[in-house]
């Protein structure tokens, strides 16, 4: 056990440290700097008048609400491989697979549910997907509903969400 412990020397405390006053001064300097700047110019305050004002800094990396991407023929790109459901740490993806009869692929999801109340928006499903079929690039960050069922997204809802940053078609299943 002892060989795993690395002992580091404590930094020496000088009078400057023990007085605390220099540190308090440094802290209040920042606080008062912002206070007087904002008092002079109210527009410098870094807040947003939400919901009248919407955020403008949502980038393509932002993990918003999920969507299922399409193929070029408009059908779903998902092949129900369960990679997202397997990777999901909150087990909130529920898939049922079925034979795909149109000859495009062998398999398709019969049903695909994401319970967004259980979802932690970690993005593992997107990372895991081998078909670029699930993405979180809708830019939707706010979800509202009257009852719990409103937050369970089914396949049709997920397919209807539009990507906020182009690339409508799956890169892997074009």
């Amino acid at each position: 056990m002892s060989h795993n412990i690395k002992i580091t020397a404590r930094p020496e405390r000088t009078l400057k440290h023990n007085l605390y006053l220099p540190a308090i001064y440094a802290g209040f300097k920042v606080t008062f700097k912002h206070f007087f700047t904002n008092l002079n110019d109210i527009n410098a305050v870094e807040t947003l008048r939400y919901p009248e004002e919407q955020p403008t800094d949502i980038s393509s990396r932002y993990r918003g609400l999920h969507r299922l991407t399409h193929r070029e023929d408009g059908t779903e790109a998902c092949v129900a491989c369960f990679m997202c459901a397997t990777a999901c740490p909150s087990n909130c993806i529920f898939i049922e697979a079925q034979e795909r009869e149109d000859g495009v692929d062998e398999k398709r999801p019969k049903s695909f549910f994401i319970d967004t109340l259980e979802c932690v928006f970690c993005g593992y499903c997107v990372e895991a997907c081998p078909c670029d079929a699930i993405r979180m690039d809708t830019g939707i960050f706010s979800l509202t509903g009257d009852k719990r069922e409103d937050f369970v997204m089914d396949k049709e809802m997920l397919l209807s969400h539009k990507g906020a940053f182009g690339e409508e078609v799956s890169c892997a299943r074009g």
């Binding site: 491989c81 369960f82 990679m83 087990n91 529920f94 079925q98 062998e106 398999k107 081998p130 078909c131």
Partner: protein, 457 residues
């Protein structure tokens, strides 16, 4: 008994029978060696070339599956040359592979995936567009689906139909990259053991139509079980799971190796028997076809037993566990009832064969015979207690203990199926196996012994 000889593998001393197969020793001693075509039940074929090992004194690497063990042999499985050989041969096997793992049911239990992670990790020198195209999703018959693109031509399936069933339905036609497994035109795969090729296939070329897309294999839990299809009692693996917000469900039965009983295989009827097991379950007590509470049903049963004391017959299903049968016999002595287990209904001469199917289609019939239980039909009496026996007998009153629903008006108490309770079974050759409780339902149905305890209190 042939002579034991000494040999050295990777610097370790081993002893083995002279002229036995080197690959078998490697498998037994858990020395890692990749292989597709070798299978203990089918013997060496030497066509996949994956199991290359270095043998000192030989110019080039040799396949372990067709190498006979000789005295003083020095075998290397971990040299750089051998590792390179494994990678190169795997690359050849994968050259025309469609890499459609997301849609393939074998994913998760696929030798190609395992070997790629262990020996491959190379990047392909060929694009998807350049790969040779074959047919996909061909229904071969007997619930077997063929995907010719995923096939590595190990010929395990064709050797199974040649050597084990002797039905010769499958063959490999064509040469080079045109070679593919197929059946004769209009001659589908049709034999009672056909679905074993699905287990034999090391890749996703042969998959089960029954299991197709129903679950991903890594989400399944495997438990040991015993097939209740006939008096043979083949050892099986029960693949089941309890998904979030769902109930414990069985998705497939697979054969479990048991050299004393079934070897490596099971019949298709036994394999598919899990479906019937889960359908039309008797879950609540019934009286005159109406659901009643469990307490009321037990009360009613006690009343009837008291009313017809000394005028009762008990009928036992020959599929019950030995412990359950013993409990019923003890209960019968307590209330002074006669015990019968009519076996005629289980006899099905058309079902039996000389491989794994017995014409006695009751799992524990041997115990009934061993315990000297009357196998005749019961005489007409006041009350009949039917413990899941498929037949209906005439009587003034009946109490049924059923696993599955039936058109019944009599008092019916639900009991657990064999996967939901534990006990032992003796097969027709006298081999006893213990079977554990595998399925844990959200709302458990009482086992026969639990119900019996409550009725006899």
């Amino acid at each position: 008994m042939s002579q034991l000889v000494k040999l050295i593998i990777d610097g370790q001393d081993y002893e083995a029978e002279q002229d036995s197969l080197l690959i078998q020793l490697l498998i037994d001693k858990e020395i890692k060696v990749p292989y597709f075509c070798y299978h203990e039940s089918l013997g060496a074929d030497g066509n996949c070339r994956m199991c290359m090992v270095g043998i000192e004194g030989q110019k080039r690497p040799q396949i372990a599956c067709d190498t006979l063990i000789k005295e003083g042999m020095i075998v290397n499985t971990k040299t750089d040359t051998i590792k390179q050989v494994h990678t190169d041969i795997l690359e050849l096997e994968l050259i025309n592979h469609p890499v459609d793992c997301p849609t393939c049911d074998q994913a998760g239990e696929c030798s190609l995936q395992d070997f790629y992670m262990e020996y491959g990790l190379h990047s392909s020198k060929i694009t998807i567009e350049e790969k040779v195209k074959h047919n996909k999703a061909i229904d071969l018959g007997s619930n077997v689906m063929l995907d010719q693109e995923r096939c590595v031509l190990c010929a395990r399936c064709t050797r199974f139909t040649d050597k084990i069933t002797g039905t010769h339905e499958l063959g490999i036609v064509g040469r080079g990259d045109e070679a593919k497994v197929t059946t004769m035109p209009n001659r589908p795969l049709s034999n009672p053991y056909a679905m074993n090729v699905v287990d034999l296939c090391p890749v996703g070329a042969l998959t089960s139509k029954d299991f197709r897309f129903s679950q991903r294999v890594w989400l399944l839990e495997s438990a040991d079980g015993v097939c209740h299809g006939c008096a043979k009692n083949c050892s099986i693996i029960i693949d089941h799971n309890k998904l979030k917000y769902k109930d414990d469900t069985i998705y497939r039965f697979r054969p479990r190796r048991n050299d004393a009983i079934n070897g490596f295989f099971i019949c298709d009827t036994g394999r598919l028997s899990y479906r019937e097991l889960q359908e039309n379950r008797q879950e609540t007590p019934l009286l005159d076809g109406v659901k009643i509470s469990e307490d009321k049903a037990i009360e009613k049963a006690k009343e009837l037993i008291l009313l017809y004391k000394r005028n009762t017959s008990i009928i036992i299903d020959a599929n019950l566990y030995t412990q359950e049968i013993e409990a019923i016999v003890a209960f019968a002595q307590e209330i002074g009832a006669d015990v019968y287990a009519p076996l005629d209904i289980y006899r099905d001469e058309a079902f039996g064969d000389d491989m794994l199917r017995s014409s006695m289609r009751a799992a524990n019939a041997q115990t009934i015979i061993n315990m000297d239980i009357n196998t005749q039909k019961p005489k007409k009496v006041g009350l009949i207690l039917n413990f899941n026996h498929p037949e209906k007998f005439e009587s003034a009153a009946t109490i049924n203990f059923l696993t599955h629903t039936r058109a019944e008006t009599a008092l019916t108490l639900p009991i657990a199926t064999f996967t939901e309770s534990s006990g032992s079974l003796t097969n027709e050759d006298g081999i006893t196996q213990f079977s554990k409780k595998v399925i844990h339902k959200n709302i458990p149905v009482p086992t026969l012994i639990e119900s019996l305890k409550r009725v006899s209190q």
